[in-house]
């Protein structure tokens, strides 16, 4: 079986693909409108027509969950894209330059890592204002140092290798070496980290929305659903249980996928990551 097939058919990948499909075809899959209110059915328990019951406005929880996949995956995807691009750039630059700029940027990364991520994300999200885009930026910022440090370490070890030395001897410029020789070798590691972190980014979006600085109503994000459903936990526990399960499944999917990718792409990294990641 080829490596590609082994990834695609892994349980993690299947879960992630299923989630992406749900997000893409949400309007077709959802049995009801995610925002239509039926105040007379507020907090209605699960029934055949409304499988997961109604929320505090009588809106269909299942439909909101399905539409919520779009927001939750979208925010997580955007956040990871931001941190991947920015973090890789910082990692490459600092790995190659190794001068005052390296020192300054890495100090900055260290400083970012010193502030608890949630507090940092909370402050950034509050500063930018509510909304999915801003939540993605806040989460992305938190993950930049993770990518930067990983890429920098890789660049440093690659720079010692023979093929880089050979390229340099042949008169290749630094930029060319960086793009042609180093970047392709760094990418697998970055992809693995991105997959693992995508799961956590979903959790982060939920945390921010739960604390009230993420996605705003009536848009259904899983975190926002948990936030508004939590006060009714005694009367209508499904309001908090359903979105929590969705988050758990999504995070699990990305973690398992990341794990599989790791074994395939980068067995050496698998060992270091399994020690430190969380």
């Amino acid at each position: 079986m080829s490596a590609g097939r082994r990834v695609v058919t892994s349980p993690g990948a299947l879960l992630v693909l299923a989630l992406v499909a749900v997000a893409m075809f949400a309007p077709a899959l959802a049995p009801h409108s995610p925002v239509m209110q039926r105040l007379e059915a507020a907090l209605a328990p699960p029934s055949r027509a409304y499988l997961l019951g109604g929320d505090e406005f009588g809106r269909d929880v299942l439909s909101r969950l399905i539409h919520g996949a779009r927001i939750s995956l979208g925010v997580a995807g955007l956040a990871i894209a931001i941190s991947l691009v920015a973090g890789t750039a910082v990692g490459l630059v600092t790995g190659v330059r190794r001068d005052w700029l390296d020192a300054a940027l890495m100090r900055l990364m260290d400083a970012l890592l010193t502030v608890p991520s949630l507090v940092l994300a909370l402050a950034v999200a509050a500063a930018l204002g509510p909304g999915p885009g801003n939540a993605a930026i806040a989460i992305g910022l938190v993950y930049i140092p993770h990518f930067a440090r990983l890429v920098r370490a890789q660049v440093l070890s690659l720079a010692e290798r023979e093929f880089v030395g050979a390229a340099r001897a042949l008169g290749a410029g630094e930029t060319r070496i960086l793009i042609r020789h180093i970047l392709p070798n760094v990418l697998p590691t970055v992809v693995v980290l991105a997959s693992v972190n995508a799961g956590f980014a979903i959790m982060w979006e939920a945390s921010l929305s739960f604390l009230g600085v993420g996605v705003q109503p009536p848009a259904p994000s899983w975190g926002a659903m948990l936030r508004t459903g939590y006060p009714y936990i005694e009367h209508a526990p499904w309001l908090a249980i359903a979105p929590g399960c969705a988050i758990l499944v999504a995070v699990l999917g990305f973690m398992v996928l990341g794990d599989r990718l790791q074994r395939l792409l980068d067995p050496r990294l698998a060992r270091t990551l399994s020690r430190g990641v969380a």
Partner: protein, 505 residues
């Protein structure tokens, strides 16, 4: 029919409640009363805070010059009597032998100092009612004379609110800004401890002047931000009394044999504040269209578990100034669309609604959003923290907001003037109607309640006709407590008045 049952239930509960509070025969001294409350006071300096829930604590530590009785009429407090000498002069005679909790004397000089403190811009007091006061003169150690800038019969009312709560001048001078966290008043209970976000402890003030108060050894206010948890604590007996019971829990708590649940129509209201100073809400027909698109009874039942009354205007049925002929507009989408067309917006429009972060503001806004959608009016919600809401309200850059819940004030002036007078504190250049201004001014200067009632009714009629805002419903005021707790009245302003509380052994 169901509504009637509910009313009957309320009446029963009320009567039972009155029977308890009216039972003055056997007060017991001693014990610790544990009050559970979701929100923590920000400051316990009565002149610096703004939040209504702070009164639950303030009324235990501080006495007003004037106090409210159980029907929200005025009664003597630190002032034994008062008299309007002429249209701009009032004389207050003070109670003798009263001491602040730090041992200093309460006298005319302290009153003068307090009022001047409030009026001094350096203090940054949030109490603005006393701007009508020009000067306070000490006539003798137990008599003060208030000279006013403009005639008003409302001075005693203002002195029953935050502005009349007397702080110890010596303590404020000694503590500076720390006074807000270790307040010193003359009230039945003195401050002991405030553990941030956790609890506030008060103890009986042994030298209290009123024999019919301060029965308890201690009061502990426990701050429990989560409402479900708060209610669980009440059920489990970890707290004895909870004000502002979450409506979703009222039904369950009423079935608990060990608890007494008090509920009565309140003076406040939930509303959507419209900035009628700017498009699109500067057009009366547009505002009226919105008012016609709302299903108030459905919102009240679905969102607030029926614990309230649909609102027809800013003055609640619980107020003495309420006009019973005024009915909330029924939902009429066809008429609403016609009104939209009349306002020049036949195809609807989109506007931004600022939403305070408190869950109820958000819930109301979300329901209103869905209902307006049916007449083609799209509301974009922007959830914002208090500071941001304030910024936009000050700058008048907002279009509508579901935020500040005002109105839990015993006197209609304290609601109508700030909101609907063109010079009102929270109105400024928003809503203006010269006739309303005139009526409210006359009501301020008048003295008798009958004369004022007629003036307020006329003013409210105009404000409602103008559809100045979208009033949604008047929430009931509620309190739930262990049956051991006695002597806690529940007036329609929902403030906890704990001075006469005692515990059955």
């Amino acid at each position: 029919m169901r509504l009637d049952m509910r009313k009957a239930l309320i009446v029963t509960v009320l009567v039972l409640g009155l029977m308890w509070t009216g039972d003055l025969s056997a007060q017991q001294r001693g014990g610790t009363l544990r009050v559970g409350q979701a929100r923590s006071p920000v400051s316990l300096d009565p002149h610096l805070g703004v939040s209504l829930h702070e009164f639950h604590v303030l009324y235990a530590i501080f006495d007003g010059l004037v106090m409210y009785d159980e029907n929200l009429g005025l009664r003597p407090g630190l002032a034994e009597s008062w008299q309007r000498v002429d249209s701009r002069t009032w004389v207050f005679r003070l109670r003798k032998g009263v001491k602040f909790h730090d041992g200093t004397d309460f006298d005319a000089a302290a009153v003068k100092w307090n009022v001047e403190r409030i009026k001094n811009p350096e203090t940054r007091a949030r109490v603005r009612d006393l701007e009508v006061v020009d000067a306070v003169e000490v006539v003798d150690p137990h008599t003060v004379r208030f000279r006013l800038r403009t005639p008003t019969g409302l001075l005693p009312t203002f002195l029953a609110e935050r502005g009349g709560l007397m702080v110890s001048p010596a303590a404020v001078q000694r503590l500076g800004p720390d006074h807000g966290r270790q307040p010193i008043g003359t009230g039945p209970y003195r401050f002991v401890e405030w553990k941030a976000d956790d609890h506030i402890t008060l103890a009986r003030w042994e030298q209290y002047w009123d024999r019919d108060a301060a029965y308890l050894d201690r009061i502990v206010y426990r701050i429990i931000p989560d409402e479900s948890v708060l209610v669980t604590n009440l059920r489990g007996g970890q707290v004895d009394l909870v004000m502002d019971v979450p409506p979703k829990d009222l039904g369950g708590l009423k079935r608990e044999g060990s608890l007494a649940v008090h509920q009565r129509p309140g003076l406040g209201f939930y509303w959507i504040n419209l900035n009628s100073g700017a498009p699109p809400f500067d057009k009366k027909a547009v505002r009226q269209a919105l008012a016609l698109a709302l299903d108030r009874p459905a919102m009240l039942r679905g969102l607030y578990f029926g614990a309230g009354t649909p609102a027809a205007g800013p003055v609640a049925p619980a107020s003495w100034a309420f006009n019973g002929a005024l009915k909330p507009p029924g939902r009429d989408l066809a008429l609403a669309r016609r009104k939209l067309a009349e306002g020049g917006l036949p195809n609807g429009f989109t506007f931004k609604m600022l939403v305070g972060s408190t869950p109820m503001y958000r819930t109301n806004a979300t329901a209103v959003q869905a209902q307006l959608d049916e007449i083609g009016v799209k509301a974009e919600l922007e959830i914002a923290e208090t500071v941001k809401v304030l910024q936009q309200v000050v700058a008048r850059t907002y279009q509508a907001s579901s935020t500040i819940w005002i109105g839990l004030n015993p006197d209609p002036d304290l609601v109508l003037h700030p909101l609907y007078h063109s010079q009102g504190l929270f109105n400024k250049d928003r809503y203006r109607n010269a006739r309303v201004d005139e009526l409210l001014d006359r009501a301020r200067a008048a003295e008798g309640q009958d004369e004022r009632r007629a003036l307020y009714r006329d003013a409210v009629d105009l404000i409602v006709e103008d559809a100045a805002d979208l009033w949604l419903y008047h929430p009931d005021v509620t309190a739930a407590m262990s049956r051991k707790v006695r002597g806690v009245p529940l007036p329609a302003d929902g403030r906890l008045r704990i001075r006469g509380a005692w515990l059955e052994p």
